[in-house]
């Protein structure tokens, strides 16, 4: 039987994290599951967790008047959802919806912030990883702004 700590250790986001730090995170974590179409959280709600996706796909949606729901990004197994828990005012910026069956570890944001405050090593290790995710998402968003595939060439 795998513990939540085992699940965290096996996840790419926490790769290389010291065992002791994983055990600290484990105290803030629980295993969760979402069914297809289930809403994980909604825009404007309290960003109370970091979701570590183990299996499945999550869509981040935003409602655009006149266009309906638009998917701005997807997050797959091996990735994490959300950094709103980490930046005041700690509210979700988008909706999140399970595109497939989703298994994840939910890490309580308040507990996580407290532990990072109490243990700067843990805080630094975690911030490094969050910064990496933010960097990749920012670069991807910039590339999408270029609208690369619009009439690039005729074939």
């Amino acid at each position: 039987m795998q513990t939540v700590g085992d699940l965290l250790t096996a996840h790419p986001f926490f790769a290389g994290l010291d065992e002791r730090l994983v055990r600290e995170l484990e105290r803030c974590s629980r295993n969760v599951h979402f069914h297809i179409g289930e809403v994980l959280f909604r825009e404007g709600e309290n960003a109370d967790r970091l979701l570590v996706i183990r299996r499945g796909r999550v869509a981040l949606d935003v409602h655009v008047p006149g266009r309906g729901e638009v998917v701005v990004s997807t997050v797959d197994a091996g990735e994490v959802v959300g950094w709103s828990w980490f930046v005041p005012p700690y509210t979700w910026f988008f909706d999140a919806r399970a595109v497939t069956e989703v298994s994840a570890v939910s890490v309580d944001a308040s507990c996580l912030r407290d532990r990072c405050d109490a243990d700067p090593v843990l805080g630094y290790m975690l911030m490094q990883r969050i910064a990496q995710v933010m960097y990749q998402r920012l670069q991807a968003a910039r590339l999408r702004m270029l609208d690369l595939y619009e009439a690039d060439h005729g074939g």
Binding site: A59, V71, T74, L143, Y149, D152, H153, G154
Partner: protein
């Protein structure tokens, strides 16, 4: 051990005078997306047009003009010359409006291709963006025709939207029946889309392949290719085993006119497929 590979010599070479177009009749036209069609052509002189995956022809709408278009058909079935054309205005608009029975001019095939066979014994990663999937289709078909000679085969494809995904049913067939790991991502979608949303570069880190034994074939907008190439080499794929199809204003097709010069290369004869180590510096120069 996988042998190093170089881009293939021109397997398919034009018959007769390469500057004279041969008449081909349009025998079938399929609309792929709102601005892209795939057409099958048959030569009026009866000779098949044999080509290597990655080669292109100069396709001519008589009285309108001529453009370089990569062959998108099956290299094992040279009787039908297949081209996928996107309407980006000018000549391509006329080409996208053809109907069965129309006659087009064809010169070629020209250039060097992907050299798929050179990747045998290792994994193959195909990364395409937009219309860039069309020049890669013959390479995928060549791999599938000799599937047992290759390890893991992965296709990563990015498009603007689900409606602009090329060869959608074929992608499903490749994934379901040919052991190809197919990942499609789009820039924008509504909630009915169950695939990924994001840029194709994001798919590279999570793709499963053995970098040192991988042949990577990349085609799409040049900016996309630059970042995909960086992501592939970051994963450990040697630059000499990353192949890019480069577009540079090809005109004559035989290295005479110089319109397609890219520093020391003439794209129409030295390319359009280059290894990353051949063109890495040139891709970073803004004026080229």
């Amino acid at each position: 051990m996988v042998a190093d590979v170089t881009t293939s010599p021109a397997v398919g070479a034009p018959s007769g005078d390469p500057l004279l177009p041969r008449p081909f009749r349009v025998v079938d036209v399929r609309r792929d997306t709102h601005d892209t069609v795939t057409m099958d052509l048959r030569s009026l002189d009866g000779d098949d047009l044999r080509f290597a995956p990655g080669q292109f022809t100069m396709l001519q709408a008589f009285g309108v003009g001529e453009v370089p278009i990569s062959v998108s058909g099956d290299p094992a079935r040279p009787r039908a010359l297949t081209h996928t054309v996107r309407d980006v205005g000018g000549v391509t608009r006329t080409l996208c409006a053809v109907a069965p029975g129309d006659v087009l001019g064809v010169r070629g095939p020209f250039g060097r291709g992907w050299d798929v066979a050179g990747g045998a014994g290792g994994d193959v990663v195909v990364v395409a963006g937009g219309i860039g999937l069309a020049p890669l289709r013959p390479a995928v078909l060549a791999v599938l025709a000799d599937r047992a000679s290759f390890g893991r085969v992965t296709l990563l494809y990015g498009a603007r939207s689900p409606a602009e995904v090329l060869f959608g049913r074929e992608l499903e067939r490749w994934a379901a029946g040919h052991g190809v790991d197919v990942e499609v991502t789009v820039d924008q979608a509504d909630p009915s889309w169950a695939g990924r949303v994001g840029v194709v570069t994001e798919l590279v880190p999570g793709a499963r392949f053995d970098p040192e034994r991988t042949l990577a074939l990349v085609c799409g907008p040049e900016v996309m290719m630059r970042y995909v190439a960086e992501a592939l080499t970051t994963r450990g794929v040697p630059a000499r085993r990353v192949r890019l199809s480069v577009e540079r204003n090809m005109r004559c097709g035989v290295g005479l006119c110089g319109h397609c010069q890219l520093r020391e290369h003439l794209v129409c004869v030295d390319g359009p497929v280059f290894s990353l180590d051949q063109v890495r510096r040139q891709l970073a120069v803004k004026e080229l």
